[in-house]
Each structure stands twice: as structure tokens, then as C-alpha cells.
């Protein structure tokens, strides 16, 4: 799986084709928007979305951790889709996974979906309300310009549409702007919102087996501001 190295605030960051971002200096792996339990929420509302994605997503996460040798995992918001019932089957699956990675440090910046989350103790994670400052970066859920550093964020589920004649491809992207980098959603159940990059922004599209920089123009949607519809 071909990754792509970029430099941000004089730090080397690795953009990975599994939608995670690795910071070698601190041996930290970043992911955003896991939305665990999304299928459950749908099922409880009478919509038959099959479970099973959490297993796949945890396998992908394990593979990324093994591949990078990261000792710390930072979730940039939206760990869960909605607060789980204490006996939710997927919660047990998650606890089991945590047990298998007991040495791993996990920090969770709360996202809008995590607001009501009472993190169960057996998950062994530290949660942070607004943002976590880890110089030169500000780790947060919703991207914004910060005085104290550039941000690594999620929330937007950025995707880009590439076109060639009648062919069209929709791919998740890492979206780099002057404020920092927005990660694509890690969840395989996440939709996406087309990005609206500014003229100096850079986009790194995530193909199934590689990360490729694309011209910011190709993803441009002529709109005034970034759309904030993210859960579709």
C-alpha cells in the first residue's frame, strides 16, 4: 500500500491509503470519524443496514498499527455514531479489540457525535472535550485556524470527484489548507461531502491502494463555502 509523505509545520507526516495519518516523530497514528455503531442506530430505527463493518474497520486499524508500529492512537472525533446501549453487541467487539491492544495509548477528541458519550472504562481511552494541543499541532474534530498551531481534524468527511469524459470517480481526500489537514473519514460506513478547496489548498486523493495528489481544481465545486452536510 503506497503512502505519501508530506511536510506540515516542519514535521513529516505520512498520508496512508487506509485513510489514516502517521506522525513518525511521536509514533502516533491519527484517524478521524470512526462512527462505530452506525449500523446499530439504523437497525434500531427499522432500517436494515447490516452490521459487520466494525469488524472490518478494526481489522484495518490493526493493520495500520502493525504496519506503522505506532504506540499511540488519536481519534479526531466521532468515535461513535451515537451513545451505545450498555449491552450493544458491537461494544463488546470493541472492548475485545482494546484488550488485544492493551499497550496502546488511545486519545479521543470528542466530536459532535460523541457529545453524549460516557466512555465505558473497559475501553481505556482518554477523552478530550475541545481539542488537544500537541505542538506544533492542534488536534481537534472540526477544522479551524488556531493561533497555537496547525490543526489535524476530521468532521467533514472530505471527498473529491474526478472526471474524465463520461468516467467519474469519487474518492476520499486529505484536504490541506492554511489551517491544517482534514483527514478523510475512516469508517467504511461514512458518506462524504465534496470539498471546496481554496486556491492554495492541496488535495491528496485516497485510491484503494495509494495516495495521489490531485489538482485542487479537479475537486472544485463552484460554491461559496464548504458544505457542512456530512452524514450522507
Amino acid at each position: 500500500m503506497a503512502s505519501l509523505a508530506v511536510t506540515l509545520a516542519n514535521e513529516q507526516l505520512i498520508l496512508r491509503a487506509d485513510c489514516s495519518l502517521f506522525w513518525p516523530t511521536r509514533s502516533t497514528l491519527f484517524v478521524a470519524d470512526l462512527h462505530f455503531g452506525k449500523a446499530s442506530v439504523f437497525q434500531q430505527h427499522g432500517m436494515a443496514l447490516p452490521a459487520g463493518t466494525i469488524g472490518t474497520d478494526l481489522e484495518r486499524l490493526t493493520a495500520a498499527l502493525v504496519d506503522t508500529g505506532a504506540r499511540r492512537l488519536v481519534v479526531l472525533g466521532d468515535l461513535v455514531h451515537a451513545p451505545p446501549a450498555p449491552d450493544a453487541p458491537w461494544l463488546a467487539e470493541l472492548a475485545l479489540w482494546r484488550n488485544q491492544h492493551s499497550d496502546l495509548v488511545i486519545d479521543v477528541v470528542r466530536g459532535n457525535h460523541d457529545r453524549m458519550l460516557n466512555t465505558p472504562r473497559e475501553l481505556g481511552v482518554d477523552t478530550f472535550e475541545a481539542c488537544l494541543i500537541d505542538p506544533p499541532f492542534v488536534l481537534c474534530h472540526e477544522p479551524a485556524p488556531f493561533e497555537r498551531g496547525v490543526c489535524l481534524a476530521g468532521h467533514l468527511h472530505p471527498v473529491v470527484r474526478l472526471r474524465d469524459g463520461s468516467e467519474s470517480l469519487r474518492l476520499p481526500v486529505f484536504w490541506q489548507s492554511s489551517a491544517g489537514i482534514v483527514l478523510p473519514a475512516f469508517s467504511s460506513l461514512a458518506g462524504g461531502a465534496l470539498v471546496a478547496p481554496g486556491p492554495v489548498d492541496r488535495l491528496y486523493a485516497v485510491a484503494p491502494d495509494c495516495v495521489v495528489e490531485v489538482s485542487a481544481q479537479s475537486g472544485q465545486r463552484r460554491r461559496q463555502k464548504a458544505p457542512h452536510r456530512i452524514d450522507r
Binding site: 452506525k38 449500523a39 446499530s40 442506530v41 439504523f42 437497525q43 434500531q44 430505527h45 427499522g46 432500517m47 436494515a48 443496514l49 447490516p50 452490521a51 459487520g52 463493518t53 472490518t56 455514531h81 451515537a82 450493544a88 453487541p89 469524459g165 463520461s166 467504511s188 460506513l189 461514512a190 458518506g191 465545486r221 463552484r222 460554491r223 461559496q224 452524514d231 450522507r232
Partner: protein
């Protein structure tokens, strides 16, 4: 026909006719007699020929015969189903007037999506004597616990415009509701009113789930005159869609000569352009020319319809949005712009004029390119021969079934739910699910109770619960959401268009607005609008001064020409080749046909013409099976794939209703035998599925299926925040299902629907077996022929931007015209 004596018609009704100096028609008396015998029936005749009165008076007459109290207001006796909300108002008014004139105390009301909620609530306690409603509103009634009581005295269901519902999922939804009503009232009479179809027997069978139906032929119009507006000069190399507006002048003259004209177009964009073109030529008509299409705001459309009925408009430019609908008696002329596409469709449109029994209906057809003149002549030939299209009912759709099962469980919950055996028997009483297999039934039950057949995949699923062996919906939120989202009509993501100062104009597809920047000008709802900003799925606009504009292109417009029509086209071309045709349209395009014949060939019906041309672009093959554009889409992909397997090459292709083009930049050639091989029916389905990236196509069809089956939820007003949590795109659901529940039968349904409806596999199969018997004629014309040119344009049009392809096409047209004048010899080889 049996004679009806005075007592049977109740006297009252005969008086009613006598007071108007009217005579009841034979077919009406026939319907009254059949109804009185307790029979179900199907009356077929064009719109506006007294079908409504035939059934309505039958029902009143029957009641008059049996009631002891003429002044009584009976509970619901007649349920009147109409496909259009707009029609409901008109029908209710019509029924009510006759009740009043007869001096009866029957109540007539309607119940549609537009009915205020306090009236709906009152109706749930007590329905009027006659209720006019839509299939969706009827299903919704079945979801309430009190529905058995509401229908306890029901005598008859009348389905108006049955042909419109027949071949759709709405029709299936109605079949299911009718089966429920028959279970409640076994002696229920079902009457259908339909336009003439080729498969009337089938239409009758579907209506009653196979019970006997008395078929009654209504009044036929004296005649239908179909005439082409033949342009003074005909381009030999016309390109689709743009010759049309050059015909503005004669169209305007025609409008001026009539009292009230309906101008029908095939697409919404074409309607906008024609409306604009007419007003540009006659600015003084601003007050008397209106526009009507399905994307315009409902209130605006209602106003336009009212103005036509009142005779206040000289002309309305409309799309299929006015194919059905209220009685427009003032309309005395109909003009069709562009290909009629189907015989029945043209007749229906023609029938909007001369709306009186026995009066001939007239329609002018305006070609938008030369070959449409052939289509017009072909349509006239089929009308004269009485050869109409069939509309095939759908069967076995599990998405509609799932929705109905939830509805029924919901309606039975208060009384302890419903036994699955009862439900199974009830739904198998429909044509659509008569042959539903036990496995499909079990899967659908699992789907609504457990989420799917795969037990492990849906541990927390809840929708329909098992309560003591019965199905019930116990969760109030689920009940509420089900009622909000019922129905089978689905639409693309639409963006509301509103004035900056308030006031809604209608809706356009989100994709169109996304291509515009603020300040851009576009034509919509008959006005030039400047986009100001976009917020929350609303495009805010103001009036624009500038007139360089875009026209929204709506998805759709992919209607294929029907088999009945293309048969006649082939016949006419063959006659033209043999110099046998008299039709004025064919004489008018004699020049075009002569060039076609000189450079290549006019195919006979036992020949498949293939034209092979070499240009700077590469090698082109043009095939003309005349099977309609949908089938050609499948055929072209199939041919490209099969040919590329013989010799490595990359093909691009384009299609229209007559044929398709394959083009490659590789220097490959194919022998006669190889072309033949590629045209075989052998392995058809497998090859098609492989070459078409069937998964992608199915994903698209799955949108509708997911919404109908309740797999996705698009939210409802007032609950946006909480609804967002359960929103997912159908594409995502499709991918997840394929991975984690691959046996999900809704996925299989999506595949079937793609093959049958998007690609018309039956027509592909028929075309290929036909080709197997035809001789293959390959010609090598010196340049693009009149038949080939529109295909080339179609492909070029999808490649470059509007501005430049227009220029390019115009340049190309000129150079071809010159070549045609030079009368160079051609080397057409067999």
C-alpha cells in the same frame, strides 16, 4: 346489450339526461347494467368521452334501486382512485355536481397529500359517501387501525386512468391495496377506466387479481388527424433537438389561428426553450402564453390549469405533466414538438383537443430533425391501423411488497397484529404476487422482522415485531416514519428555486445548480433568473436582465421509441426505397433519403444496415437495428466488448432511437463473419452483465428500491436534526449489503430491474434474433450519411462544451451539405 327499463335507471338519472337534452350512450347503459348485476368492469376509450359518468351513474343507480331512503347520506360506498392529485380536485367537483343536480345527499370528498390534516383526521372517523384519492393515500389509510370499519359499507372501487398506473410500481402498490379491500369486502366491484391498450385482457386481469371482468368499449372519437408541419427547407444533415425552434414561425401562425393550443414537448428543457422562443417572437402574448412542467411549483401549475379550463390562455407549452388531467374543453388544437416516441402517447396527447365525443381530435407534429418526419408518418399509419402499444404490469417486486407488509402489520397492530398466513393469502390474490415463491415470501418476512435472512448481520434490528405469532409494529417512532415515507414515487435530489424576496418557483436537480456560480443566469419556469446564493438545498434567485443563459437539463428525456412505432418506421423506409410511399412527410424528405440511398442504402426490413466510415477520428461503424435508444445502449456496449475481444481496441459509442455508433482510433477491421458472431444471442445476459459494469448500473436503480423498501430515509420537515443520524446514501447501503449480506434479494431485484427496464433486455433479445434472420449489409459511404450524422453529433455533444460543439456541428453541417450537392459517386459495397 340488454335493454334497461325505467325502474332500473331509477328515473332520476334519465331525467337528468333529459334535462340536458343529452342521450345516454349505449356503452354507458351497458356499464349500468353490468354494475347492477354486481360485475366488475373495464371501460376503455379516450379521455373525455363520458367514462366517468358511465361508472358514477352506475353506482348511484344501483344505490337508488336498493335504498329505502332517498334522502340518506350513506357511509363510504364508492372509492375513486386517480393517479394525479391535480385530477382529484376536478373529479370530486364533477361527481359532486351531478349528486347535487340529482338532489341526493351523498357526500363527496377527496383525500390526497394536499388535504389539510384536520380534514384527514375527521375522515379517519367517518369517510364520505364517495372518496376521491390516490394509490398512496389509500395505502396510508390501510395503515390505520380503524380502516376495516371505514370500508365496511364499500361497494365499488373505480380506478381512473388505469393504463397510467398499470406498468408502474404505483400500480403494484394499488393492486396490493385492492387485494386488502377485497379481503374486507368480498363482493366488492372493481371498475377500471383506461385508454385503449394492446393488452386490455391483461389490464383487466391485473385490476381484479384474475376475477371475471366485463369489458366495455367506450365511445371512440370520430377520427384522429395527425399532420406534420413540414418545414420549407429541409437540412439534409439535421441534428437532434435544434431544428425545432426554426419552426417557431409556422407554430406561431398555428397558435394564432386557433382559440386555445396545447404545445407538448418531450423534455422540460425543450418546454422552457419553446416558451421563451414563442414569447420572443410575440412579446404581446405575454399574458396569454403559459408554461407547465413537473418541476414548476404546484401552485403555479394549478393556476395555469385553471386558466386553460376557463379559456383564458391562447397557448400552454407543456411536458407530459399535462398528458393526463383535468378536462380542457376550450383547447381546440394540439401541437407536438419532436418525436412522438409512441403511438399511444401521441393519441393521448391528440385527445387533449376536441374534447367532445364524436368530434375529431387534431394534432400537428413539428419535427426537430428530418427523420422525425418518418416517425410522424409511421405514427399515423399505426393509428389508422389501430396498432397500439401494450403496457406490461410488473410482478414480484419485493421492495413494494416489504413496504406493504409493514403497512398491513401497522394497520393490524391495535388488534393484536396479523397472522403471516392471512397476509400471504391476501397478497397472492394480486397479479403481481400470484406466483410469488415461498422462498421470496419468507425472505421478505425476514427482511421486515429481522433485517434480512443473515441472522448475524442485524442483531439490533427492529421494525416489525412478532407478537404471539402475529406481525405488529410496536415502536411508535417506526410507525411514524413509515407513514411519512410511504409511496413508490421517488425523485432525484431536488433543489428548491426561490425568489430572494420569498415565493417558490419550483425545483431543479441539485446537479444543475452545482454547475452554476452566483451571478450566472438560467432559464426556468419561463423566466430568466440570476442565481444569488445557495443555502440549505434552496437556490435563491432574482430576475435577470442579461439574456445569455443556461437551460437546466433534467435527467430523464431518455424515453425510447416504442416497438410498435419503430416497426412502422422500418416499413416506411423500405417503401421509400422502392418508391412506393405517398405520405407527404416522406415526399418532403425525399432529398435526405436520396442522399442516404446514394451514399449508402435505405435498409429493407430483412436487412441490417451497417455503415463503415474512416475519418481522422478513426474507424466508425454505424449499426441500425431500430430497436430504441435503451436497447441500443445495451447493444452498443455488447458489440464493443465482443469486438474488442476479437481484436484489442478501445471503442467509444453513441446511441439514438435508430441505431448506434462504435468508433475506435485503432486501425482494426472486422469481417462480415466476425460482425455476425458479435451479433449472436448466445451468452447474451452474461456478456451484458460483464461488459456493462452491471454493479454500477444496479447501484443507480437501487436508489429507488432502497427508498421504497425503507432502507434509506430521506428525512422529513421539522425533524431534520434527529433524522440526520439515520441518513445514508443508497450507494453506501448498496456497497455494504454487497459485502455483508450478498444474498439480499433486493440486490438481485436491482439487477433484474436494470436488465428489464434500463436496458430493455427483451428488446435486445428480439433485435438480435431478428438480426440473425436478416442479411447483413455493410456499406462504406464516403462520409457520414444522414442516418449516421445524428449519432456522431450525439457522441460529440457528450464530449465538449455546449458553446463549442454547437459551432463544430454547424461547421460540419455546412461541409456535408456542400458534399451532398456535388453528387459524388459512392462505393457502396455489399
Amino acid at each position: 346489450m340488454a335493454d334497461i327499463d325505467e325502474t332500473q335507471t331509477g328515473g332520476l338519472i334519465e331525467d337528468w339526461f333529459a334535462r340536458r337534452d343529452w342521450q345516454s350512450f349505449d356503452f354507458q347503459r351497458e356499464a349500468w347494467a353490468a354494475y347492477a348485476r354486481g360485475e366488475s368492469g373495464l371501460i376503455h376509450a379516450p379521455t373525455g368521452t363520458g367514462k366517468t359518468l358511465a361508472v358514477w351513474f352506475a353506482a348511484l343507480n344501483d344505490w337508488l334501486e336498493r335504498t329505502h331512503d332517498l334522502a340518506a347520506t350513506p357511509p363510504l360506498k364508492v372509492l375513486w382512485i386517480t393517479p394525479l392529485r391535480a385530477l382529484a380536485a376536478d373529479t370530486a367537483r364533477h361527481l359532486e355536481t351531478s349528486v347535487q343536480e340529482l338532489g341526493l345527499n351523498w357526500t363527496v370528498e377527496r383525500r390526497t397529500g394536499d388535504t389539510p390534516s384536520h380534514i384527514k383526521t375527521r375522515q379517519r372517523k367517518n369517510l364520505p359517501s364517495a372518496l376521491v384519492t390516490t394509490p398512496e393515500s389509500l395505502s396510508l389509510l390501510l395503515s390505520y387501525a380503524e380502516h376495516p370499519k371505514l370500508f365496511a359499507a364499500l361497494e365499488a372501487v373505480v380506478v381512473d386512468e388505469w393504463h397510467e398506473l398499470l406498468a408502474t410500481k404505483r400500480g403494484v402498490q394499488l393492486e396490493l391495496a385492492l387485494a386488502r379491500l377485497r379481503a374486507l369486502r368480498p363482493a366488492l366491484k372493481t371498475w377500471g377506466l383506461s385508454a385503449t391498450l394492446a393488452n386490455l385482457d391483461e389490464a383487466a386481469d391485473v385490476l381484479t387479481g384474475g376475477r371475471p371482468v366485463t369489458r366495455i368499449e367506450g365511445m371512440q372519437p370520430a377520427e384522429t388527424h395527425i399532420r406534420a408541419m413540414i418545414p420549407a427547407t429541409i437540412e439534409r444533415f439535421p441534428w437532434a433537438g435544434h431544428m425545432g425552434t426554426r419552426m417557431v414561425k409556422p407554430v406561431i401562425e398555428a397558435i394564432a389561428s386557433a382559440t386555445s393550443t396545447l404545445v407538448f414537448t418531450n423534455t422540460r428543457s425543450q418546454a422552457e426553450l419553446w416558451h421563451q422562443a414563442i414569447l420572443r417572437a410575440r412579446p404581446d402574448w405575454l399574458e396569454s402564453v403559459a408554461l407547465h412542467h413537473g418541476s414548476m411549483d404546484r401552485g403555479l401549475r394549478d393556476r395555469v390549469e385553471a386558466m386553460i379550463s376557463d379559456g383564458r390562455l391562447a397557448c400552454v407549452v407543456a411536458t407530459s405533466s399535462l398528458d393526463l388531467g383535468v378536462d380542457f374543453s376550450p383547447v381546440d388544437q394540439v401541437i407536438q414538438i419532436g418525436s412522438p416516441k409512441g403511438v399511444g402517447r401521441l393519441l393521448q396527447r391528440a385527445g387533449r383537443s376536441g374534447h367532445r365525443p364524436g368530434v375529431a381530435s387534431r394534432i400537428w407534429c413539428v419535427p426537430t430533425h428530418a427523420f422525425e418526419l418518418v416517425e410522424i408518418a409511421a405514427a399515423r399509419r399505426q393509428v389508422e391501423a389501430g396498432r397500439l402499444e401494450a403496457r406490461r404490469p410488473l410482478t414480484g417486486a419485493l421492495d413494494v411488497l416489504a413496504q406493504h407488509l409493514v403497512t398491513r402489520a401497522l394497520g393490524a397492530t391495535r388488534d393484536g397484529g396479523i397472522k403471516p398466513e392471512t397476509l400471504a393469502a391476501e397478497i397472492r390474490d394480486t397479479h403481481a404476487y400470484r406466483d410469488l415463491g415461498e422462498a421470496e415470501w419468507q425472505w421478505t418476512l425476514d427482511f421486515i422482522t429481522r433485517g434480512g435472512a443473515a441472522l448475524s448481520a442485524y442483531p439490533e434490528f427492529q421494525r416489525v415485531a412478532w407478537v404471539d405469532g402475529c406481525l405488529a409494529v410496536t415502536d411508535r417512532q417506526i410507525a411514524r416514519r413509515h407513514r411519512m415515507t410511504m409511496g413508490t414515487i421517488t425523485s432525484d435530489a431536488a433543489m428548491s428555486v426561490q425568489w430572494l424576496k420569498g415565493g417558490r418557483l419550483g425545483s431543479v436537480e441539485e446537479r444543475f445548480i452545482a454547475q452554476l456560480s452566483p451571478g450566472d443566469v438560467f432559464l426556468f419556469s419561463g423566466r430568466m433568473l440570476e442565481l444569488v446564493r445557495v443555502r440549505d438545498l434552496t437556490a435563491y434567485v432574482r430576475s435577470a436582465r442579461r439574456c445569455k443563459h443556461h437551460v437546466p437539463r433534467w435527467a430523464g428525456g431518455r424515453l425510447a421509441i416504442t416497438g410498435t412505432l419503430s416497426e412502422a418506421i422500418c416499413g416506411i423506409l423500405e417503401e421509400a426505397r422502392d418508391g412506393q410511399t405517398e405520405a407527404p412527410e416522406i415526399r418532403a424528405i425525399g432529398g435526405v433519403l436520396a442522399v442516404q440511398r446514394r451514399w449508402s442504402r435505405l435498409p429493407a426490413s430483412d436487412e441490417l444496415l451497417v455503415e463503415h466510415v474512416t475519418s481522422r477520428e478513426g474507424r466508425h461503424w454505424f449499426f441500425y437495428p431500430f430497436a430504441g435508444r435503451l436497447a441500443h445502449e445495451g447493444l452498443s456496449a455488447l458489440m464493443a466488448w465482443r469486438l474488442a475481444r476479437m481484436r484489442p481496441a478501445t471503442f467509444r459509442f453513441s446511441v439514438n432511437d435508430y441505431g448506434f455508433e462504435l468508433v475506435t482510433s485503432s486501425r482494426v477491421t472486422f469481417t462480415h463473419a466476425e460482425l455476425r458472431d458479435a451479433l449472436t444471442t448466445h451468452n447474451l445476459v452474461d456478456d451484458l452483465l460483464t461488459c456493462l459494469n452491471a454493479a454500477e448500473l444496479a447501484k443507480h436503480t437501487f436508489r429507488d428500491i432502497a427508498r421504497i423498501a425503507g432502507l434509506v430515509f430521506s428525512g422529513y420537515p421539522g425533524a431534520q436534526k434527529s433524522a440526520r443520524q439515520v441518513q445514508a446514501s443508497s450507494g453506501l447501503v448498496f456497497d455494504v449489503l454487497r459485502r455483508y449480506d450478498a444474498d439480499n434479494r433486493l440486490l438481485a431485484q436491482a439487477h433484474t430491474e436494470v436488465l428489464e427496464r434500463e436496458l430493455e433486455i427483451e428488446r435486445i433479445r428480439k433485435a438480435l434474433s431478428c438480426i440473425a434472420r436478416q442479411s447483413l449489409i455493410v456499406t462504406e459511404p464516403p462520409r457520414l450519411t444522414p442516418l449516421a450524422f445524428p449519432l456522431w453529433v450525439e457522441r460529440v455533444a457528450s464530449q465538449v462544451t455546449t458553446e463549442s460543439w454547437r459551432d463544430r456541428v454547424e461547421r460540419m453541417t455546412q461541409s456535408l451539405e456542400k458534399a451532398a450537392d456535388n453528387k459524388k459517386p459512392v462505393n457502396a459495397a455489399k
